[in-house]
Symmetry: C2
Subunit: 77 residues, 2 copies
C-alpha cells in the first residue's frame, strides 16, 4: 500500500528555507511572488495490513516534528 505523508511547518513558524527560495525567485526576476513555504512529502510503501495507528505513530515519532510541524496522511493506493 502506498502512503504519502505531507509535512509542513505550522502557521507562524519562521521558514528560513521558504525565505531563501522567495529571495532567489525575486533575484531571478520573478515578480508577484508574495510568500513561499517549503515542506516535505514522504512516500511510504508499506504492507497492506499496516494500521492507521502505526502510520500515525510513525509520523509522531519520526516523520514530523510535531512541535513545529503539521502532518497529513494520504492513502494513495
Amino acid at each position: 500500500m502506498k502512503i504519502r505523508v505531507h509535512v509542513s511547518l505550522k502557521p507562524g513558524v519562521l521558514d528560513p528555507q521558504g525565505r531563501a527560495v522567495h529571495h532567489a525567485l525575486e533575484g531571478l526576476g520573478f515578480a508577484g511572488v508574495d510568500d513561499v513555504r517549503v515542506g516535505r512529502m514522504i512516500e511510504l510503501d508499506v504492507a497492506n495490513d499496516t494500521s492507521d495507528d502505526a502510520l500515525t505513530e510513525m509520523c509522531e515519532k519520526l516523520l514530523a516534528n510535531t512541535v513545529i510541524e503539521n502532518y497529513r496522511i494520504e492513502k494513495v493506493g
Copy 2:
C-alpha cells in the same frame, strides 16, 4: 493564488534521505515498511495573473533540479 509544487526524485535515482528514514523506522520497530522516498512540497502565494509559463519557468530554473527530479504544479486556490 495558492500554488503547490510537488518535487520528487526520478525513479531509479538513489534516495539517501529516504534510506535513512527507512532505516530509522525499522530501528524504531516498525515492521512492514518496504520503501521510503522523500520529496519536497513548495507552497507559493503568487499574484492571480501569474502565467503557467512563469510557474513552469520557476520550477525549471530554481524549484526543481530537472536532471534528477520531477515536479508537478498543483493550483490550490
